[in-house]
Symmetry: C2
Amino acid sequence: MTAYNKLSVEELRALREELLKGFEEVKGKGLNLNMARGKPSPAQLDLTLDMLNVVNPETVMKGEDGMDFRNYGIMDGIKEARELVAEMMGVSYENVIVFGNASLPVMYDTISRSMTHGVCGSTPWCKLDKVKWLCPAPGYDRHFAITEHFGIEMITIPMKADGPDMDLVEELVSKDASIKGIWCVPKYSNPLGTSYSDEVVKRMANLKPAAEDFRIFWDNAYAVHHLYDDDRDELLEILSECEKAGNPDMVYEFCSTSKISFAGAGIAAMISSKKNLDFARKSITIQTIGYDKLNQLRHVLYFKNAAGIEAHMKKHAASLRPKFEAVLESFDKELEGLEIGTWTKPKGGYFISFNTLEGCAKAVVEKCKEAGMVLTGAGATFPYHKDPQDSNIRIAPSFPSPEEMKTATEVFILCVKLVSVEKLLENK
Amino acid sequence: MTAYNKLSVEELRALREELLKGFEEVKGKGLNLNMARGKPSPAQLDLTLDMLNVVNPETVMKGEDGMDFRNYGIMDGIKEARELVAEMMGVSYENVIVFGNASLPVMYDTISRSMTHGVCGSTPWCKLDKVKWLCPAPGYDRHFAITEHFGIEMITIPMKADGPDMDLVEELVSKDASIKGIWCVPKYSNPLGTSYSDEVVKRMANLKPAAEDFRIFWDNAYAVHHLYDDDRDELLEILSECEKAGNPDMVYEFCSTSKISFAGAGIAAMISSKKNLDFARKSITIQTIGYDKLNQLRHVLYFKNAAGIEAHMKKHAASLRPKFEAVLESFDKELEGLEIGTWTKPKGGYFISFNTLEGCAKAVVEKCKEAGMVLTGAGATFPYHKDPQDSNIRIAPSFPSPEEMKTATEVFILCVKLVSVEKLLENK
C-alpha cells in the first residue's frame, strides 16, 4: 500500500471523499461501541463462577492456629492467601500482606500514608515544599490520578521498547531529593503491553536515589496475564534484585486477582521488605481490624496454588487472544505501509497502544465518538492528560464481544484514515 | 452487705486473708480466660452461615441498569445495599455510600482525607499548626488510636448518664477553631452501653462550632444491637436533626454489619449530606474502582430489608442476653452494697463498663492477668490510655462461652474485692 504522505493533494482529496462517504454510512448505523474499558468481559467473569460455591456453611473457616476467619483479626491476611500470592509472584509469604478487593486502594493508601507519616521515619511528605514523581508514559491513567490528587508534581519519562528511559530516570533520581517515587507497570504494561527487560529491572534495582524515602511503585498487575502458552515475556523478580543491589527497601510491589477472579471482588496484595511492611503495619493496625478473610479463603480454596492460577489464566487467554488478534490483523491488513500509525503487539495484558500521526489522537477519538464509539480519552495515558505529541490512543479489546470488537476496529481504522488525510491536507 | 469502707482494719485484714486464699486457689487452676475482646462468639457467627449460599453461580448479579456486580464500577455501592442500610438507619439511600468490609477504615480514611485535602474546601489539616479533637470518655479505644496516629490533640470530655457533657462540648467547640471533630458512639456506647438522650442529640446538632470544617463523627455501631425486645433505647436520627438545626453538613455517620453478619466480612457505610459525600467521592473515585459488590449483594439477598435485619438481631440478642445477665446478676449478688465499684446495665451493644474505687483499675487488670484472665487494658477507654481516676474497666461478655463467662465473672469479682481491700488498708 502507498504511504499517505506520498499521495498528491488530488489523491488525498479523492481519498477523503471516499472515506467521508464511509464515515457517513457508519454514522447512520447508530452504533454504540466501547473500546475504552480495561475490564474483563462477562464471558471472562463467568470463568470464575464456581468460586462462589467454595466457601459455604460446611467449609472449615479456621486457620492452623484456630483463628476464625469469620471474625475480626489477622491483619496481614490469612497465611494461606499470603502463600498463594507469594507462589504466584515468586516471593516469600513473609513479604506479602493480603488486603481487600483491589490493589488501587493499597497504592493510594501507601501514598496517603507517606503524605501524613513519611516513609520509615522520614519527614511526612505533606510537610515538604515539593514532592515530585517520575511517570513513565504512556502509562496508567489511574496511577497519575493518584499522584495528581495529592498535589505531587509529575515528570513524564519516555517509554522505550524495553521499559522507561533509564538514563533519564537514573539522572533525575540521583540528583533531586524531592523525587520520591516512580510508577511502573513492569509487565505487559498499561497501555503499551510491553515488559521491562532484565537490564531495565537491574538498573531500576540499582538506582542511587538522592531521597532516602524514594520508592519504586511496582504495579505488577499483569504478572500472569499471558495471551500465549509458548510465547511469553519473563520479568526479573524485583525484590531480590533490590536486595542484591543493596536496596532492599526501595520497592513496593502490588498485585491483585482483579483480572484473575472477579474485577470487583478479588484480593489484592502488597509485597515488600520486612522494614517497609512493618512500617505499613503501624498504620494498617490503626486503620482496620482485618480485611475480608472469607474472600481470601474463597481464592485459596478455588485456585489452591500457583499452578491452579496458571491453568485458570489459560481460560482467560483463550477468551482474550482472538480479540487481540482480530484487532492486530485488521491493523496489519488495513494500515500497514500507510505510515499513518504505529501500534504495539503485546503478548499479554489488557491493552494495545496505537500512535497516530502527531497531532491526530484527539481528533481520532472525537471522530470515533461521532461514529458511536467511545475510546479512552486522548492524553489519558500521560500525566495531567497531556500527550505532548497528541498521538497516543489506548485500545482495550477485553470487554466487547468478538463481533463488537470487529465493528469497533473497522470504525477505528476508518477514523484514523480520515483524520490522517485531513491532517496531511492541512500541512500541504 | 456491709460496705468495705465501714470495716475496721482488723476486719479488712481478715477479709484480705480469706480473699487471698481464694485467689491462690484460682491461680492454681491455670485458667485461660478472656473478657477483653468485643467480638462476636463462634455461636453468633454461625447464625449467618446461610448467607454464604445466597450468591452462587445461578444468582443474578446485575443491577436494574444492567451493571455487572462482578466487574469494576459502582463507586457508591450497589443501590440495593444502599437502600438496605438506609432503611436500617432511617435515612434516604442518597445519603449512603456503602464501602468494604468494615467501618473503621472508612473513619480512618475520612480523617486521613481531611489531613491531606481538608474538608469541603477548607485548609488541609496537615497544614495547620494544631488540630484538636473532643473525645467523650470512657470511649472506644480504636477511635482514640486513629486521632492519636494523626497527631491530633485529644481533649477528654466526661460522659454523663445520657451522653457527653454538652456544656463543656458547646463551650469548647464554639471558642476554639482548632477543634475539628468529636468522636461519638451514640447508642449502646462503647464501653458504657448507654445511649444519648434526645436533648444531647439536639444539642449536638445545634452546635455552633468556630471551625467551619468541624465534623461530628457519629459511629452508630450498635444501632440495631438491642438485648431486649420490649426495653430498648431509642436514638434521634442525627442527619435530620442537623438539617433542622441549619447544620446539614456537620455530621458523618458510620455503621456496619460487622456485628450483624460476619465481623470480618460485613459491609460498612458512611451516611452524610450530599455536599459531604460529593467531597468524599472526589477522593474515593481516585482511591478505588469500587468496593466488593458481591458481598454487598450477599447482604441484600440474605437480609432483604430492615425487618430481616431486625429478625436476625433477635437471634444475636438471644445469644448475648444470658451472658450479660449472668455478669450483672453476679455483680448485684456479690458486689451490691460493698461500695467498691459501680457498673452499667446496658440494654444493648457489646460492653459493660465497671468503675472500681479510684486508683484500682490497673491493679484489678493486673490481678486478673495473674489469675489467668485477660481484660481490656486499664486506661484503654481514655485518650492516650490515661484514665485520670484509674477506675474504668471495659468488660466484653460476647466472646466467651456461657461457662467461661461464669468463671470469668467470679475471677473478676474476686480480684475487685482483693484490690479494693488492699487499697482501703493502704489508706487507713
